[in-house]
Subunit: 207 residues, 2 copies
DNA sequence: TCATTATAGACCGACGGTCGGTCGAGAAAC
DNA sequence: GTTTCTCGACCGACCGTCGGTCTATAATGA
């Protein structure tokens, strides 16, 4: 019955299970007991590691955004053009990891609002500074110019994370594409490069 | 003990009380019983009018965004320049009505996530089309031009509503101003008008 | 008088969180 | 080498709260 594990291992075990369950059933619908059953531990053990259910979510969100920021940070040392770095940095945060294993997902909209908000918040806070570094490098190299680097990146991140989140706006593929095109266009304007410069580069790499 | 009221009156009474309480204590922390005490009704009465606590929130959000959209719509018939209409339309949605009567407010961040998300969602859906009309009028009158009217407005709305919401990002007055300036600057770029055109108009009216 | 509508509040089950206590590995004492 | 002690990991019964249900009944009106 009783299995003793290393502190960090056990803690990660709980975080992993919670992440799986939150993604599968939604934060609100997932109970602490669900997590206990998954990890095979008792109530007390759970609350030995976390002081609340919300604290587990915070741990998940932190881990998620830290990984994204680290990946983006690594792009900085790459030996490529600022534009390519920018694109790679954006790719770094698009890790819709979790296997979409369940069809219930559609219904979660209001069961994950808090998680979405926290993720958005952390993502903007941790990614914006990294993006700003890339923007500034591009300015030095005369690739582009930019009046409000930090604020523009915050605006870009906030709007793209919000509008491309299926959990918030249900949109068909076409309107998703239109939003993407508009977002790229806004980025071009923010950096004062001529129209479609980024769009072309984007299509070559991924289109 | 038993007071009978008109159906709509009673329903609005509940919505009003809930709105006050949700703003004061936060949605999660506000219990149905709190609402009952405020309105002086019994559980059964509440559930006679609403099938869930969340449904009351939906009613609040709907009423809120409908009023905002109506106000904005009314701006359309005004006899002013497209730029002024645009500014008035933005003002129309900035109704931070509720008196900030409590100091607990600071803590609510995570107690209102769902409400914020729903409001953002409805706001974008209902305001964007109205703004697009103004944009198109401006295009006709050669005040500006615009490549993706609807998408740009969605981007603008999503980012401004997210970044200026104190509940999500705690920012001091200075960074709030910087964000505002950057948002206005983005709008200028979206509509291809020269730098600071809107900023100047904005400062004249409100600065 | 009878049906419909509105109100009431006791009650329920589920859930997040608490609390007192158990277990066992290893350090310390003898 | 054995006993004692400490301490961190773990357990699960229990509790209070909360959203939601159910049934009774008062008021209305046809």
């Amino acid at each position: 019955m009783r299995t003793i594990k290393d502190y960090d291992d056990r803690k990660n075990e709980i975080i992993d299970a919670a992440e799986r369950l939150f993604n599968a059933k939604g934060y609100e619908k997932c109970t602490v007991n669900d997590i206990l059953n998954e990890v095979k531990i008792a109530k007390g053990t759970f609350y030995y590691y976390f002081k609340s259910k919300e604290e587990v979510m915070d741990a998940i969100v932190s881990r998620y955004t830290e990984i994204a920021a680290q990946r983006a940070e690594r792009v900085l040392c790459l030996d490529t053009s600022p534009l390519e770095k920018l694109m790679h940095a954006f790719m770094a945060m698009q890790m819709k990891d979790q296997v979409h294993d369940d069809m219930l997902e559609e219904l979660h909209k209001s069961d994950n609002a808090l998680m979405h908000q926290k993720t958005l918040n952390m993502m903007v806070l941790s990614m914006a500074p990294v993006l700003v570094k890339i923007i500034e490098e591009g300015i030095e190299k005369k690739a582009w110019s930019c009046r409000y680097p930090l604020q523009y990146m915050q605006i870009f991140l906030a709007s793209s994370l919000t509008l491309t989140d299926e959990g918030i706006f249900e949109q068909n593929t076409d309107s998703q594409k239109e939003i993407m095109a508009a977002l790229i266009s806004v980025l071009e304007k923010m950096l004062n490069v001529s129209e479609d410069t980024f769009m072309k580069a984007f299509m070559q790499n991924f289109g």
